[in-house]
Symmetry: C2
Subunit: 564 residues, 2 copies
């Protein structure tokens, strides 16, 4: 393969810096989005969503903060997408309408994005398919691609030839010499780039804690077959809904054993449909059945691919476990195979789901007791070292990990001979100035979490979330006081209503006393000129003290004064 | 050792069953409490607390439901405690005041219970120390004990000789031939009991998923030493605050390397004090310093034992990481050693704490990247098999695990040759009738979770928790309507106040429209005779529909009607 020579490489006098700004994905596993800006040209790599943690109750998704781009929209040449996972494409339906720029990525990823755009009623003519061998010129940037293995087909590395040197943007990948998709990481291409010279390599560091190499995705199929052979009833397999290679392996097993395959869960059905339509799944005729046709087959002729591998409340598999699913009923003799490991934030729900399934008599296969049910899609330490040795970059930057991953990544690079200043120590919002002879982190833009909750995007912030957390731990007390504005006196009794504080029927004495506290507080603080804000604050304080003394709880207190 | 012959063993005509009722700890890792009832005699084994999960926001602790015992208090002869962990003793300060019966356990456990009783202002004269060789006669029960290894010294198995046969109650234990405490599991005694005949063995099944044997606790000390030798500044070690053997190993390392040891965290200080006073810790003179004396020593002369090994918000280590601790400041050159693995429900906080520490430049040692930092206190599968082979019980029952552990435990026993009916398949509240020739699960008592929140015990229930969860995800809307009872008409405008719903400043239009919805709803439904409950329900429904349509959120709606 001929190496790709950047057209600016001879311009030695170029002192204008390239700005690289991560909006998400650095010190942060998800909502990947990176800005490359040179003069009047901007390209964006990835546009993902993040997932809420416990400090964000009720939040559905977190999207990157694109405030920095608001006055630079006409500079943006394109969004390049590395692969079709939600933490790399999920932000598009929310942010593309504002940016309205072309999107470039490989075929399957285009398919997944089109599905999202259809759901959101967005036009799809900006979604452009690239072949892995394509080259693009986007303003000052010359772009090429190379194939990598990952847990979804059509994942790629992006080579960005810039006026200040060559950058490789390598998001999620792994080394798998026998991937089910046939898409092996193109180590030869990376080696050629390394020989030609690489200024900066951005590299997926999520699994740097794991020594050695990952096993191949192919190791899963025999585990599925073993589970199916051991099961006299239905076999349910759950996995990430975009894991097309794993779906393929389940379908292979079903076809060999004469079981029919049904897909349960909207994301599963959507992704299956896209992958099959685009030729990424090879399905023998007659193997797939509609999910509502399951009841016409005996249990031992069914293999069901089902969503909900993390135990998420409300997911298809959770509803099956609770006996609430309208199409799938399971019990003694049936098996559920978890072809996914829990991620830290879902471990409790994951284990609870295994317990619920066990309780209804189902045989559960999961990683703690069965081997080869899941392999990670992310490179382990020795795979990272291989990529670094192939690309031989002058500078390195870990992406897609948290702070501890970045630190271990830096340590690993230093063990390989890199100096401390050659491994960029950055976080979201940092402005990385890349010059021909140097890279400096200079300045920072403010990036916030933008929360999506229901139909609202960005309409809830830290105060709303703080209130939600407080109410969830301590409840709320509303007290309503009627006031005669003529006399400044309270009319009748104050009302006290609580939610999430105490079981009111058990606490009538406490709430009656609380009324008296409100009355006393009102009387004491309503002398002279009435300042309602002050009065409300005093009542809140007095009631808080009273309630804390008697319960050691601090509910949110909401005094409402009604003028009559 | 002479085997212990129950005095009733020759009474072959005894047809009265022994009732065994687990109130907590079966299908449930924590709040261990078991009732053994024979005729007019009851003994209780353990009295633990449980810890809240995500479905119990704001709950501090969960305690066992002792409703069944309320009319049988005069039957209860004693509470026997297996060891000093909170899931076995933590319920005592809440439940002992109602039961007022003698408590029997070994010395260190007595010490821990005394500390709790002191904090709660309870009398301590019912706490009785037993030696491991002691025997007790408690009504129909003859009790003896044997030593086991666990992650706290003075853990024991309880042998209960009953009129219907011998029962071994083996809560948390492990096999460790070189425990730091010197307390090896007394396999010889268990073998003797097995030879004499064991009807039923209750056995800690929490780690049945783990194949093989645990490493010895002793393996930890060299890891501490290595970390300390690699650290130029302060060394902080965090672990479960009751793990006396591990404290000992940290102290040994500090003494060898010339570091002073300070203890940070109330539970740490309490447990250290009790263990040292009772002779369970061997501390060379001058090694321990008061925590407020730390500032007088250079960083490289300090080793700090600190609470908060699960990343719990508000714990000492979390406050240190946030720079909020008044005595401990750390940064570059300092190390934190996590000598505890995360438990499923704390994994997110645990990882976040490692990230925060990494971010401030601290070197963190944790299990994903360093070996021999923690060993489990619970028997792995082959240790369980050893105990079963020694005790050779007629029947088996897994305790201290969830449903999946119980199922795997049953499977393991069947692999060893037990029949399905020999492994009891039970859950909390089941009444297990033990007869001389049979064991039957017959009937069930209702056991609820009793929640402790602040000073309240049992005053919050499922409705309060449901409201808390709803408010945490969707927020609350309060609407106040003033009504003239003479005319039945609304006076003025309704008020709308929200918390945790939207950022109000951004949503004035929405909230203004919502007022109109309330007015329209009032007008429509306030015709004829006024039924306030009906009116409130109608306003709630109309407002809910309106808000869901515009936000896809469903806050709790609280209409308040004020008569003026």
């Amino acid at each position: 393969m001929k190496s790709f020579v950047p057209k600016f490489s001879l311009n030695k006098n170029n002192n204008q810096p390239l700005k690289l700004i991560p909006l998400g994905g650095v010190g942060d596993v998800t909502k990947n989005m990176y800005i490359y800006e040179y003069g009047d040209d901007i390209i964006i790599v990835d546009c993902g969503v993040g997932f809420p943690d416990e400090a964000m109750p009720g939040v559905d998704l977190v999207i990157p903060d694109i405030s920095y781009l608001r006055d630079k929209k006409n500079k943006i040449k394109a969004i390049l997408i590395t692969h079709g996972h939600d933490d790399h494409i999920g932000g598009l339906p929310y942010l593309w309408p504002e940016l309205q720029v072309p999107i470039y990525t490989q075929k399957l990823t285009c398919g997944f994005i089109r599905t999202k755009f259809t759901e959101f009623g967005l036009p799809k003519n900006s979604i452009h398919e690239v072949k892995i061998s394509d080259k693009l010129t986007l303003g000052a940037f010359n772009i090429s691609f190379y194939q990598v293995s990952h847990s979804v087909p059509d994942s790629m590395g992006i080579v960005i030839e810039t006026p200040v040197g060559r950058i490789i943007h390598q998001a999620d990948f792994k080394i798998d010499w026998t991937p089910v998709s046939g898409q092996v990481t193109d180590v030869g291409r990376v080696a050629n780039l390394g020989t030609a010279g690489v200024k900066l390599l951005l590299l997926d560091c999520l699994r740097v804690e794991k020594p050695g190499f990952n096993p191949s995705e192919k190791s899963i199929e025999s585990s599925f077959e073993k589970a199916a052979l051991e099961t006299s009833g239905k076999v349910l397999i759950t996995m990430t809904s975009s894991n097309v290679s794993r779906m393929q392996q389940a379908i292979n097993v079903a076809a060999r054993l004469g079981r029919k395959v049904a897909l349960v869960g909207r994301s599963f059905e959507n992704n299956f449909q896209v992958a099959r339509d685009l030729g990424y799944l090879h399905v023998p005729p007659g193997v797939i059945i509609a999910s509502d046709a399951m009841s016409t087959f005996p249990a031992n002729k069914l293999l069901i691919l089902i969503a909900g591998s993390q135990g998420q409340a409300g997911s298809s598999l959770s509803r099956v476990a609770n006996g609430e699913h309208k199409l799938v009923r399971i019990g003694e003799g049936d098996s559920v195979v978890f072809s996914a490991d829990p991620i830290p934030s879902t471990e409790t729900e994951y284990n609870a789901l295994i317990d619920s399934l066990t309780r209804i008599g189902v045989n559960v296969y999961y990683s703690a007791v069965t081997s080869n049910l899941h392999v990670s899609g992310h490179a382990a330490a020795d795979e990272l070292k291989l990529m670094i040795n192939l690309a031989k970059p002058q500078y390195l930057m870990g992406i897609g990990g948290t702070f501890r991953h970045n630190k271990l990544f830096a340590k690993m690079a230093q063990d390989m001979g890199y100096k401390q200043n050659q491994v960029l120590d950055v976080e979201d919002g940092d402005i990385i100035n890349i010059l021909q002879n140097d890279i400096k982190v200079e300045g920072k833009i403010e990036v916030q979490n933008i929360y999506v909750d229901g139909l609202g995007v960005g309409d809830i912030g830290s105060i709303v979330l703080r209130d939600r957390r407080l109410m969830s731990e301590e409840g709320i007390i509303v007290t309503v006081i009627s006031l005669d504005p003529q006399t400044g006196k309270m009319e009748g009794e104050p009302e006290i209503i609580s939610r999430g504080f105490v079981f009111e029927a058990l606490a009538t004495d406490l709430l009656d006393e609380a009324k008296q506290v409100v009355k006393d507080s009102f009387r004491q603080h309503s002398k002279g000129k009435l300042d309602w804000r002050f009065l409300r604050k005093m009542i809140e304080d007095d009631l808080e003290k009273f309630l804390y003394k008697h319960t050691e709880r601090r509910p949110i207190i909401l005094p409402v004064i009604v003028e009559i």
